[in-house]
C-alpha cells in the first residue's frame, strides 16, 4: 500500500475529468497541506492537544468493499428508519443514495453524491464546494481534505421547500489503514427547511483509519436546518471533523454532535452569523474513556447585529481520557444587540481523567449580552447520597446521574428513534464501566 503522501502526489484524486476550478482548488489544498507546518506545542489553537502523535503516512485511500461487506454495512445503516433519504458510504465509496421522494425531486431538491453533483450542477458546486473552512488551526488538514476528497453528499433545498423527515448519511470505514475524507455540503435556500444526520462508524473494533471530514452548512434567509452528527468510530481511528455553519438573516440552525469514538478526535465547529436575526445553537455531548482524547474547538462569529448564538458542550470523562474544550465568541464591531452564550460542563468520573477548558470571548461591540461558563466537577455527593437513601444502589444511582447529565442535550434531538439509539450508544459505553 502506498502511503497517503505518495498517493496524493502521484495519483491525484481527480482522475475523472474535473472542472478546472476544482483542479485548482485541489492543487491549492495540496500546496497548503505540504507547506503549512504541523501543529506545534506552542500553537495557541492546539493548546493542550497531544500534537505530533499523528502519522499520516500510515494511512492511504483504499478500494471499494466486497459486495458481501457492502451488504452487511447497508444493513447496519439503520439508526433512523423514518427518513426522507439515506446515503451510505464505505471507505469513501458510495454504496447507495436512496429514498428521496418523487415529490421532493420535482420541487428541485438535490440529494446526490459529490461526484455526481460536480457533473450535473457544476455552477452550484463552484459557488460552494471547498470554499469554506474553519479558522481554528486545521488549514493543513483542510488542504489534505481538498486534495483527497472522493466521496460525500450534497443536499440542496430550493427556496421555500420544507423536508420534514431527516436525510441520513452513513460514513463507514472498513479496510485496514484506510484514509477517508467524507464531505457533507448542505445548502438551504431562503425559507427552506431540512434536517440531516451524519453518522460516522467503523465496521469492526480493529480496523485502523484516518478520517478528515468536512461539513459546510449554508443557511440562507429564514432557512431552518438541524444537523446532527454521531461520531462513533472505533478506537483505532484518528478523526478530524471541520464543520462550518454560515447563517443568513433570520436563519435558524441547530448543530448537535454526539462524540463517542476515536482514539483521538479533533472536532472544529465554526458558526458565522452573517445576517441579523439569525439564531444558531451548538450542542455536543462526549463520552471519553480509556486513553481517548477529544479536542473540541468552537468559534461563534457574530458579523451581524441582533443575532443569537448559544453553545452547550457536555463531556463525561472516565479512565485516563482527556478532553479539551476551546471555545471563542467573537462579536465584530457594529454587531450590536448580540446575544451569545457558551457553556462547557465537564464531569470527571475518574481521578485520572483530565478536562481542559478554554472558554474565550472577544467582544468589539458594547451593546451585547455575552457570557460563558465552564465548570468541572464530580458527581454531586449530596444527590448520590439522596438516591442511596431511597434504596437505589450506588452504581445505579451513578448511572442515573450520568445519563441525566446527558439528557439535557439528548432531549433536543427532536427524533425519538434517534434519541433512543443515541441513549443506547452512550449507555453501552457506560454500563461496562460503572456496572
Amino acid at each position: 500500500m502506498t502511503s497517503l503522501s505518495e498517493n496524493i502526489m502521484n495519483k491525484p484524486a481527480n482522475t475523472a475529468a474535473e472542472p478546472i476550478w476544482l483542479t485548482e482548488r485541489r492543487a491549492a489544498g495540496l500546496a497548503q497541506y505540504q507547506t503549512l507546518p504541523p501543529p506545534a506545542l506552542n500553537d495557541e489553537l492546539w493548546r493542550f492537544a497531544s500534537v505530533g502523535r499523528l502519522k499520516i503516512d500510515d494511512y492511504a485511500p483504499t478500494g471499494a468493499p466486497s459486495p458481501a461487506n457492502a451488504k452487511a454495512l447497508l444493513d447496519r445503516s439503520d439508526l433512523v428508519s423514518e427518513r426522507a433519504g439515506r446515503s451510505v458510504h464505505a471507505d469513501d465509496h458510495s454504496l447507495c443514495f436512496e429514498g428521496l421522494s418523487e415529490e421532493l425531486i420535482a420541487k428541485g431538491v438535490l440529494y446526490l453524491p459529490i461526484a455526481d453533483a460536480l457533473k450535473a450542477h457544476p455552477d452550484l458546486m463552484e459557488q460552494y464546494f471547498l470554499k469554506t473552512t474553519t479558522e481554528l488551526g486545521s488549514d493543513k488538514f483542510f488542504g489534505l481534505h481538498a486534495a483527497s476528497i472522493r466521496a460525500g453528499t450534497l443536499l440542496y433545498i430550493p427556496k421555500g421547500v420544507e423536508i420534514e423527515q431527516p436525510l441520513v448519511n452513513y460514513y463507514w470505514t472498513s479496510a485496514q489503514g484506510t484514509a477517508v475524507f467524507p464531505h457533507t455540503l448542505i445548502i438551504a435556500e431562503d425559507n427552506a427547511k431540512a434536517s440531516v444526520v451524519d453518522i460516522f462508524s467503523s465496521e469492526t473494533k480493529e480496523n485502523e483509519a484516518l478520517n478528515i471530514a468536512v461539513s459546510n452548512l449554508h443557511a440562507a434567509t429564514g432557512a431552518k436546518v438541524f444537523r446532527k452528527v454521531v461520531q462513533d468510530w472505533n478506537k483505532q481511528t484518528t478523526s478530524f471533523q471541520l464543520d462550518t455553519t454560515i447563517a443568513g438573516r433570520d436563519a435558524q440552525v441547530k448543530n448537535l454532535a454526539v462524540n463517542i469514538g476515536s482514539e483521538r478526535a479533533r472536532y472544529e465547529n465554526q458558526t458565522r452569523i452573517e445576517g441579523p436575526g439569525a439564531d444558531v445553537k451548538m450542542y455536543s455531548i462526549t463520552v471519553a474513556e480509556d486513553n481517548q482524547e477529544f479536542d473540541q474547538r468552537t468559534f461563534q462569529t457574530h458579523n451581524a447585529p441582533n443575532a443569537v448564538s448559544d453553545l452547550l458542550y457536555k463531556n463525561a470523562l472516565l479512565d485516563q481520557s482527556r478532553t479539551i474544550f476551546s471555545g471563542l465568541i467573537k462579536v465584530a464591531e457594529g454587531a450590536q444587540q448580540t446575544d451569545a452564550y457558551q457553556t462547557n460542563r465537564n464531569l470527571l468520573l475518574d481521578p485520572t481523567a483530565e478536562a481542559n477548558a478554554l472558554p474565550g470571548l472577544e467582544i468589539l461591540a458594547n451593546d451585547v449580552r455575552c457570557s460563558h461558563g465552564a465548570t468541572t466537577g464530580n458527581l454531586d455527593a449530596d444527590e448520590l447520597f439522596y438516591m442511596m437513601q431511597r434504596g437505589i444502589p450506588r452504581r445505579t444511582a451513578m448511572q442515573l446521574m450520568v445519563f441525566g447529565f446527558f439528557e439535557e442535550v439528548i432531549e433536543k434531538v427532536d427524533n425519538e428513534e434517534l434519541a433512543e439509539n443515541l441513549r443506547q450508544l452512550i449507555h453501552k459505553k457506560f454500563e461496562a464501566k460503572i456496572a
Binding site: T352, E362, V368, S371
Partner: protein, 472 residues
Amino acid sequence: MSNSKIQDEAISVDTEKGNFSYPEDYAYDAGVGLSEDTIRYISDVKKEDEWVRDFRLRALEIFNKKDMPTNWATKDLENIHFDKIRYYLSKGQQPSRTWDEVPDDVKETFERLGIPEQERKFLAGVEAQFDSEAAYSRMKEDLEKEGVIFVGSSEGLEKYPEIFRPYFGKVIPSTDNKFAALNSATFSGGSFIYIPKGVKLKQPLQAYFRINAENFGQFERTLIIADEDSEITYMEGCTAPKFETATLHSAVVELVALKNAKIQYITVQNWSSNVFNLVTKRGMADEGAEVKWIDCNIGSRLTMKYPGVVLKGRGARGEVLSIALANNGQHQDTGAKMIHLADDTTSNIISKSISIGEGRSTYRGQVHMPKHLKNCKNNTECDALLINTNSRTDTYPAITTRGQNNTVQHEASVSKVSAEQIFYMMQRGLSEGEAMSLAVNGFVNELLKAFPMEYSVELKRLIDMEMEGSVG
C-alpha cells in the same frame, strides 16, 4: 520635554497628580542599551557579591535566548526597543533612614504624592523608591524590635543573604518568561521583607515608587517572606509622569507564605499611557497559608500582569481580586494563575474590567489541577463593562482539571451600562457623565471594598477622572 510643557503640567497638578517631573542629574547611569557590560556596571555600582552578579549574567543569557511571547500575546510587544532603554540610574545614595537626609527635589516629588501625610496617618513603614534606588526608607522602631526586615533588594541580598537567598528567584525563576529574565538581569530597587514566625503586622507596609527618567526601564524586585503563622499586608502604588517615548516597567514580585502565614499584596497602578508594564507576580503558599493579590490597573499603554499563586501545601488558599480600566490607546492584559499542587486547596479569582473609548481589556487566566488531587476548589468570575460602541474586551481562560472531588467553575459576562440606569440618574439631576461614573463605580464597588479605605477613595477618584469625557 520643553520647559513650557512642564509649566503647563505643573498648573494642572491637582487634577492629574502623577504628571510632573524634575531635572535629571543622576550620579550613576548605565547608559542606553543592554549588554554584559551594562550588567557588570550595575553589579559594580551596587558592589554585589559574586553570586548575585552570576545570577544577573545567567539571566541575561536567558533573556537573549527567549522569544517574545507573541504567539499568544499582543504584537505591540514588538514595539519595545531594548537597545534604546536605560537600564540603571541612581543618585548614588544609600537608602536613607531619616527624612532630613532625603534630597530636596525627591522630597518635593513625594510631597506631591502625599507620602509624609500617609505615613503620619497609619503607615508602619515607608519604602519609597525614586527611580532605581530607595530614597527614603524607615520603619517604626517597634517593627524592628519584632525582627521585621524591610529593606531594598540590594541591601537585602547583601546584609541578609541567609534569609533571602534561599527564596530569591525560586518562586519566579529567570527562565519563567522573557521579562522575568530581563528583570533578573537588571533589577534594582524594590522591597525585600521578612516577617518572623508568629508576627502579625496590624498595619500595612507601603512602598511608593515612580518612574522619572525618559526611556528608563524600572526593574524593581520584591521578595516577601512570611514565616510560619505570620501575617503581612503590603501595598504598592505607582504613578508615573508622562513622557514622549515609551517607558518600560518590568517588575518581579515573589511572595513566600510559609506554614499558616498570610500575605496580602495590594497594588494600585496608574501609569501614564506610554508605559509598557510587564510584570511577573507569583506567590507560593505552604500548608494552611494564604496569598491574596489585590490588583488595580489604570493607565499604561500595555499592561501584562497575571498574579499567580502556587498552592503547594495542603489547605493553602489563593485569591486574586482585580480591577482593570482601559482607556483610549490602552490595553490592560491582566488575569490570574492558580496552580493547585496539594489536596484541599482553594482559590478564588474575581476580575472586573472596564473599557472606555477604544480601550481594550483582556482577561487571561489559568487554573491548573494537574495531579491526582482531592477536594480542591476554584471559583473564577470575570465581568467586563463596555462603555463605548468601539470599546473592546477579551476573555481567555485556560482550565485543566483532574483528580477526585475537585470543583472548578468559571463564569464570565460582558455588559454595558443600561440606558435605563443612566436615564433614571439623569432624571434625578445628574449629568450623563456623572451618571456614567456612578454606574461604573457601582460595577466595581464590591471589589473596591477589598482595598484599604485610603486606596478605595483614591480609586474612585481615579475612575471618575478616567470617565471624564467618555460620554456625550
